[in-house]
Every structure is written in C-alpha cells, then in structure tokens.
Symmetry: C2
Subunit: 146 residues, 2 copies
DNA sequence: TTAATCCCGACTAAAATACTGGGGATTCAA
DNA sequence: TTGAATCCCCAGTATTTTAGTCGGGATTAA
C-alpha cells in the first residue's frame, strides 16, 4: 500500500512550486535542486501535472511552471491523482456498484465492502486538504528558521 | 497505492475460513478451490496469519485452520496488517512525530502532514470493520442464492 | 544568435510481486 | 503400522512495476 516516488516527490515539488509561485515561473532545475530530485525524473512528474491542468508551463529562457489555479483551490487529492492515477486500493473499489464486474465467478464479493470503505476514506482525506494550507504551513516554518 | 494480492486474496481467504470455522478445521485446499487461489501461494498467506496469531493450525489428516479468536473480535485491519505489513502510505507516516527523521536535510517536511492524515484515515477505516460483520453479510448473500 | 528553458520518447537497472516446486513433519484412520 | 491428508518451510524464478537515465528537439527572452 505504499505511495510511489511519483506521489511523494511530486507533492513535495508541487508545494515547492506553490510557495514560490507569486514570484513568477519556477524552473524544474530550481525545484529539483531544493527538493533533491533529479531533473529528468522531475520533468516527467511535471508533465503529468500539466496534463492534469494543475500547472501551466512557460517556455523559453526565464520560463518554468506556474499554478493553473490558486493554491487554495487545488486539493492534495487533485495532485496525487494526477501523479499516481486512481488512489483506489483495489481496482473494483473505484467502480460503480452496479457496473462492477464480480471478482470471481461466484457470488458478490464481500470484501468489496472493505475496499470501498478504504477508498472513500482515502479520498475524503486527500480532498479535504488544500495546497494553500500546506503553503502557509511551509512559510510559517521557514520564518521560524527550521 | 494498490493493495497487493497478499491483502486481496488473504482477506478473501480469511472470510472464507471464518464462514466455515464452526464446522471444524478448514483446509487450505478447500479454501484455495473455492477462492481460486493456488494452494502453495495460499500456504504462504496462511503462514502470515498464523504468525500474527489470528488463526491456529491443526496438523494431520482432517486438519486445517481455525480462527484463533471469535470473528467478532478480529478487525479487517488486523488481517490486512498481518498480510501486508504496515498500511502506511509512506514510511514516516507511521512513525512517532518526534522520533521521525526528517525527510530531506532541510526543514521539517510539510507533506508529512498529508501522509499522516491518509494513514490515520486508512487505519480508522480498516479497524472499524470486523470480520464478524463480513461473515454475516456473506451468509446473507448465499441464502439469497447470489 | 545563444543560452535557458520546456518537451518527448526510448531505454535500462533494480526492486518488488506473484507465484512454483520439492521435500519434510504430523496425525488420523484403516 | 502404514498410508493418505494435512500443515510446514525454504529456495528458486518469471513477470511486472518502479525509478530512474539519456539524447535530442522546440521555444523564447535577452
């Protein structure tokens, strides 16, 4: 049940970007340096975030990435799903109750009740935290000099 | 963020066992057949469940496995953790706030707030469902002939 | 025109997952 | 007392996924 480095690095990178967003485009190179992630790997992560329309890119010299929407309107769930795909612990948990194909030939799969509950609770957790909050938190800490 | 087959098959197997528990020891072979899991793979899963003292084994002919405690007292969390290890989405989420080594050299890791929240919500979900409930659900359905 | 950027696809190494197989130990029952 | 039905344990292996690397191209500000 581990989150991959896509999600882990990607969220860190996104927060980093959001913190500096107001100062204009933030380059991959600068994020990579601060967050100690390789540039080429980070490129792939940013591409996913762009495809999901969470960031916009600015090409050419002095370019970089900016948020596509205010940080207050982007949830952690948006970011993680863009990076990881569905966060469902098991495929069928994300599907509609009726359309779900039954797991094994026989009978309705009882454990699906469990997968559904886990799925819902994960989504509720990530969709209730917004990047804006994390940015605030992050700025608070850098003032304290941590 | 996917659960591995250990957790998926293992929970199914556990529920299967719990449903038949009252009729005496349930053999791996019979669970494997009903749940369409290979015998040797299932052996490994049962070994984990035994180590976690969730089931007891009865060796020899007519042997098999029985629950170590009533199904009402075993949570889905107990079973999944026995099979999968920690369900934390990221290592540090499970650690104590203070003892946690900081993720990268600099500063306190803000995204840890997120990992912690996800971790808590997963655990709350799995620890609030008991195998007993799933057994009841399962019996209900087989009566209805599903 | 050049340097700083993003962009893209292909490749690869390492790790994790999902098994398979063989032989041994126990115990019931004929 | 023997044999079949069990659990038990460990080692091997194929496949898939992850986590990256690499090389070259397109765009744009200065």
């Amino acid at each position: 049940m581990k989150l991959s480095t896509k999600g882990r690095y990607g969220l860190r990178a996104f927060i980093d970007l959001a913190v500096s967003d107001e100062k204009g485009p933030v380059s991959i190179a600068s994020i990579a340096e601060r967050q100690e992630i390789s540039v080429s790997y980070l490129e792939q992560l940013m591409a996913k975030l762009k495809r999901a329309e969470l960031v916009q890119s600015v090409r050419g010299a002095n370019g970089g990435y900016i948020l596509a929407r205010p940080a207050e309107e982007i949830s952690v769930g948006d970011v993680l799903r863009a990076l990881e795909g569905s966060l469902a612990p098991v495929e069928c948990a994300a599907l509609d109750q009726n359309k779900a194909t039954h797991c094994n030939g026989s009978s309705h799969c009882v454990s699906r009740i469990v997968w559904k509950r886990i799925n819902d609770s994960i989504n509720e957790a990530v969709d209730s935290i917004y990047i804006g909050e994390l940015v605030k938190e992050s700025k608070k800490e850098s003032i304290r000099g941590e």
